[in-house]
Amino acid sequence: MSRNAKINTLLLLVVAALAVLPLALGLGDDEKEPFTGADAQAETAITEIKPDYEPWFSPLYEPPSGEVESALFALQAALGAGVLAYYFGLRKGRRQGAEQARAEEATEEQTADAEGGRPGAGQV
């Protein structure tokens, strides 16, 4: 593995550790519902501060179950990851293609020169 790849892997491991440690250390154990979403907690806090508050608008579409909701979240992440992967794959392919073309050009010109091509042909 190159030094670059090592550094990237290390960074990703730190990110993973930051996500896993709260779970491993059981930091949510003293909560009624461990690891709920902060957004939902805020809704609870609003009803605590203002018990008579009624949301005056409801979502046009609501996923019918937690499973469907997590599927849609996964879809969102997958779409994003797909585009990112396409971008980096395309870049890498282009770079390799350009390098290959350059190498082929070089060998072609060399053989042409060796066969007694026009003088100065390599200087273009």
Partner: protein, 255 residues
Amino acid sequence: MHIAEGFLPPAHAIAWGVASAPFVVHGVRSLTREVKEHPESTLLLGASGAFTFVLSALKIPSVTGSCSHPTGTGLGAILFRPPIMAVLGTITLLFQALLLAHGGLTTLGANVFSMAIVGPWAGYAVYRLLKRYDVPLMVAVFFGAFVADLSTYCVTSVQLALAFPDPSSGFVGALGKFGGIFAVTQIPLAVSEGLLTVVVMRLLVQSSKGELTRLGVLLQGGKKADEGGKKDTDAKKCTDTEKDTDTKSETGASA
């Protein structure tokens, strides 16, 4: 940071919508100009939007025993400046509001203001400030993304505290409450977002040097990143190709 549908009183919802609208309109103009003048940047624009898509879909456990998600707006703000991120962030928020019942149309203005406007601008400001003091690129990127993430959640806390001041302790009390839910939870996630943004930026430095130079992230003719190893191999590659061309011209001359 998604304020749920209907959870802001109408007056607040409208006010945040009015506050956000000019930023988004300006952003759409910057985006169309960017695409028209530099069609080649469309791909990288798509990648920046995709990064926001991925990160804002990841709900990650935090030290407070609750879950929250990063925003992914720092990267685009650093690459393309904050106005363009206002558009990309709004698209993400619309997707979540319409398909996931996450956030909402009535709270879109407020959510756009925190995630797509204040976050990118705050992150970009920190990034520029650090770069001015010659901080290494990747360190500036880390803190830019960190601040973009954390400031978003601070703004959400302020928005909710303004709408729902505590009956006894008022705005400050409510701010403490919402800040405890959002901002504290967000600190480790903001660190994660900073690190992930650094990883993507490192990959970009490797793969898209030309574009980063055009966007002003990398300086012309050199890079400030801690990429010593990479630079060495690059330099070696360069000398190799130079050698090739040298031999080529030599053979050309002798022929």
